[in-house]
């Protein structure tokens, strides 16, 4: 599995170091920020695609960036799951970067180093095969995300960033506690070694609980979600897009990887995760139905989507239901693309209308048609209507729950679809209502360059439903033996 070709062996490390070094450059020479940022994002996308193709052809890649192999040293592992998420991060990120670069200098020069640090950190996270290494990448991602949250400078965003930072810090400390317990129980922290270690006692169970709770704090799993609505709703549109689409997936992936590759969790714990997921679906959807602001609706819908993905933990008990895991990952992918499209579209709407107060949207004279269209398309994927990536993900999840004979979870999935249709319809209705407009005159601005990226992303979300074969082929070995590094 360690490739003989040395260039290929260092590819994973380059995906981490490249963006980070570009971040240094963007920080030292702020005026070149956009150029460096776009270039590095595009290069990372190319690298991630190349890696994905390589893995598709010849199987997972395991490299050792430091010259010393685990357990003493650190290994990096890239399988289909990691590769898919790497491509997702780089792809969505490059799109958001394009939108930001096109929007002009309003974002400020700090967006670029923060985004590039986030990219490098996420890449490191997806490629990690060592628990302590995973901890450090979680920290990088957390700090960069806090920076993006506070970028808009408003008091609400600063408060939200502080709350997010505290929650993330608590999560990291709990995760570190788990790593400490694992090391004291097994004497090593590499995933491969931990998976085969036989000692399982109170220390290992405590480690599992600590790490899951810590990651739940970072992923905003209800009831540990309090920081998310304020953080995502008060950030600038590109920052919100990155936070909801990409940052959340990092800690969620970490939980998934630990669940599948390291620990052997009891079925009851899976059911608990599923119950938490169901709670998140209900809570997120209800709050989205009640939210006064458009951005809050989109933020709450992220909570609900995370809940939906959590159902896979409960459903996928045995191999027959393993397809549920593939559904969960596909949902992550589809959600990332659609949510980024949605937040960018909302940004365009707010820029055109001047506010994001849902009740007053019907009275707005300006109707930014292309942005609203992009929003609607993204909503199709988030609700899970065919043909969209969201539909494919939900379908696989449903298939898994039926195969496992767990009908209650199938009902929850159906309920999630109905609820998301409800709150999305609430928003779309405001777009189409014109009765409140004073004087009845409506201005429909035409296409602008800034509408291109949200629309492209929304179309991509639909495309994921049509061209699902490629990504699913990468995920084929999940979750069987192909997941353990």
């Amino acid at each position: 599995m360690i490739p003989a070709d040395p260039a290929l062996a260092q590819w994973p490390a380059a995906l981490v170091l490249g963006p980070v070094l570009a971040a240094v450059a963007a920080f030292i020479w702020p005026r070149a920020g956009a150029v460096v940022g776009l270039g590095a994002s595009a290069a990372t996308l190319a690298g991630a695609l190349a890696l994905a193709l390589q893995i598709h052809d010849s199987g997972p890649i395991r490299t050792v960036p430091g010259g010393w192999d685990a357990p003493l040293g650190i290994a990096m592992y890239a399988d289909g799951l990691a590769a898919l998420l790497l491509v997702m991060t780089a792809g969505v990120g490059t799109a958001v970067a394009l939108a930001t670069a096109g929007a002009g200098p309003r974002q400020g020069t700090f967006f670029w180093p923060l985004w590039l640090l986030l990219l490098g950190g996420l890449n490191g996270l997806y490629l990690a095969a060592d628990a302590f290494n995973l901890y450090i990448t979680l920290e990088i991602v957390g700090l960069a995300a806090v920076g993006l949250t506070a970028l808009s400078g408003t008091p609400e965003s600063v408060r939200a960033a502080l709350t997010y930072l505290l929650a993330g810090l608590m999560g990291s400390l709990l995760f570190l506690l788990g790593v400490a317990l694992l090391y004291s129980a097994h004497g090593r922290v590499d995933f491969a070694g931990l998976a085969t270690a036989t000692a399982a006692g109170p220390a290992v169970s405590a480690a599992l609980v600590a790490m899951l709770v810590g990651l739940a704090l970072k992923t905003a799993i209800v009831p540990l979600h309090v920081w998310l609505p304020a953080a995502h709703a008060n950030a600038t549109p590109p920052a919100s897009a990155l936070l909801s689409a990409l940052v959340i997936k990092g800690s969620l992936y970490a939980a998934m990887r630990l669940w599948l590759a390291v620990f052997d969790p009891a079925a009851a714990l899976g059911t608990l995760m599923g119950l938490l997921g169901a709670g998140a679906i209900v809570w997120g959807s209800v709050q989205a139905l009640r939210a006064p602001r458009l951005k809050l609706v989109v933020a709450y819908s992220t909570l609900a989507q995370v809940g939906l993905i959590l159902l896979a933990f409960a459903v996928a008990g045995d191999d027959a239901a393993a397809v549920a895991w593939r559904g969960a990952v596909y949902l992550m992918l589809a959600h990332a693309v659609a949510k980024a499209a949605m937040f960018l579209a909302v940004g365009r709407i707010v820029a055109a209308v001047g506010h994001d107060d849902l009740d007053r949207l019907a009275e707005a004279r300006v109707r930014p048609g292309p942005a609203q269209f992009a929003f609607a398309l993204a909503a199709v994927s988030l609700i899970g209507l065919p043909p969209s990536g969201g539909f494919v993900g939900k379908w696989l999840l449903l298939e898994g729950s039926i195969a496992a004979g767990t009908w209650p979870w199938a009902a929850v999935i159906a309920a999630a679809t109905l609820l998301s249709a409800a709150y999305m319809t609430r928003v779309l209705a405001q777009f189409f209502r014109t009765d409140g407009v004073p004087g009845g005159e409506i201005v429909r601005p035409g296409w602008t360059r800034a509408d291109a990226v949200p629309l492209a992303l929304a179309l991509a979300a639909l495309g994921l439903g049509i061209a699902a074969a490629g990504p699913l082929a990468l995920l084929a070995p999940v979750p069987a033996s192909g997941v353990t590094p």
Binding site: Q10, F110, N133, R159
Partner: protein, 320 residues
């Protein structure tokens, strides 16, 4: 087991717990911060008892020193006048009873779980100590912690430097309206102190760096000392930053990462794997990387403390 040492440990632990409780108590924030710093030093002492002198040095310098300085800087910037409530230090009434009960429940659960986990460990997992000892000769240094940080698990240390960089990027990205920074009274005592202590501290930092190869010490501890020198110079007005200094500071922040990555690229070319040092010259490589890291860490810690722009101190009403 020596009963006297056990008594000492018990006393030290009691002291740590007591001081820690005082450090988190509501009330005078200045007192709490000082208690926190004292706790850090006592904890460092405890870790020396546990045969972890490198970490004890780092806790004393970074965990207690730099963190305490950051706390004091923040405390200085917050309002202290009575009747001026602000979000950050609003004098709210003591937490409601239900919250305290819930908090106690959470805390007891955490401690209970930890105690149960620790009690269940019977030391059968040998850990990686033997593996490190077996390969220590090849690592180029004889301090095992330095060997782990800079050789065996160098990739982790690289990412740690990225964390430092991310922090300074975020701190510098926050608003340009700076909080006033404290200014020491520049009398003969301060100047005399600076004239004596600063050069000695620079020497001590260099010594710690060189020492790290074979005794407790290393880049992070040395970097913290150097950062202290930089902070005193800038706070005391002994060095006034010029116009190009902000760009130079950013360069310094990135220097550590660039140096580390550059070393990685070079070793990739020479040895075929990133950060696999040529065995004969491993010590030189490690020291060179650590030297660059020390400078960068010092700059980064100072940058975290001072921020990008610092306003002059508020006039009048200085705190004692």
């Amino acid at each position: 087991m020596n009963a006297a040492w056990l008594a000492f440990d018990a006393l030290l632990l009691a002291g740590i717990l007591g001081v820690a409780w005082a450090a988190m108590a509501p009330g005078d924030a200045f007192r709490a911060i000082v208690m926190f710093m004292v706790m850090g030093l006592l904890v460092a002492l405890a870790w020396v008892r546990l045969r972890a002198p490198d970490v004890a040095l780092a806790e004393a310098a970074v965990g207690s020193g730099v963190t305490g300085a950051l706390f004091l800087r923040t405390w200085h910037a917050l309002p202290r006048e009575a009747g001026r409530a602000s979000e950050a230090t609003a004098a709210r009434p003591a937490a409601p009873r239900r919250l305290r009960l819930a908090a106690f429940g959470l805390a007891a659960t955490l401690t209970g779980l930890l105690v149960a986990a620790l009690a269940s460990l019977d030391g059968t997992a040998p850990g990686l100590g033997d593996a490190v000892a077996a390969r220590l000769a090849q690592s180029g240094v004889s301090n095992p912690v330095t060997a782990v940080l800079l050789n065996f698990r160098a990739y982790d240390t690289l990412l740690e430097v990225v964390v430092l960089l991310a922090a300074v990027v975020v701190v510098w990205s926050l608003d340009a309206r700076p909080a006033p920074r404290p200014v020491p009274a520049r009398g003969p005592i301060f100047l005399g102190f600076a004239r004596l202590a600063l050069p000695v501290t620079v020497l001590a930092a260099g010594y710690l760096l060189w020492l790290g190869a074979f005794a407790p010490g290393g880049a992070f501890q040395a970097g913290a000392l150097l950062a202290a020198v930089g902070i005193v110079l800038l706070l005391g007005g002994l060095y006034r930053p010029g116009s190009g200094d902000r760009r130079r500071a950013r360069l310094a922040f990135g220097l550590g990462l660039a140096g580390f990555a550059g070393a990685g690229a070079l070793t990739l070319g020479l040895e075929g794997a990133m950060l696999r040092y040529p065995p004969a010259a491993a010590k030189t490589w490690i020291l060179a990387i650590e030297a660059v890291l020390t400078l960068s860490i010092a700059a980064t810690l100072a940058g975290l403390f001072l921020g990008e722009r610092s306003a002059p101190a508020r006039t009048g009403g200085e705190r004692p």
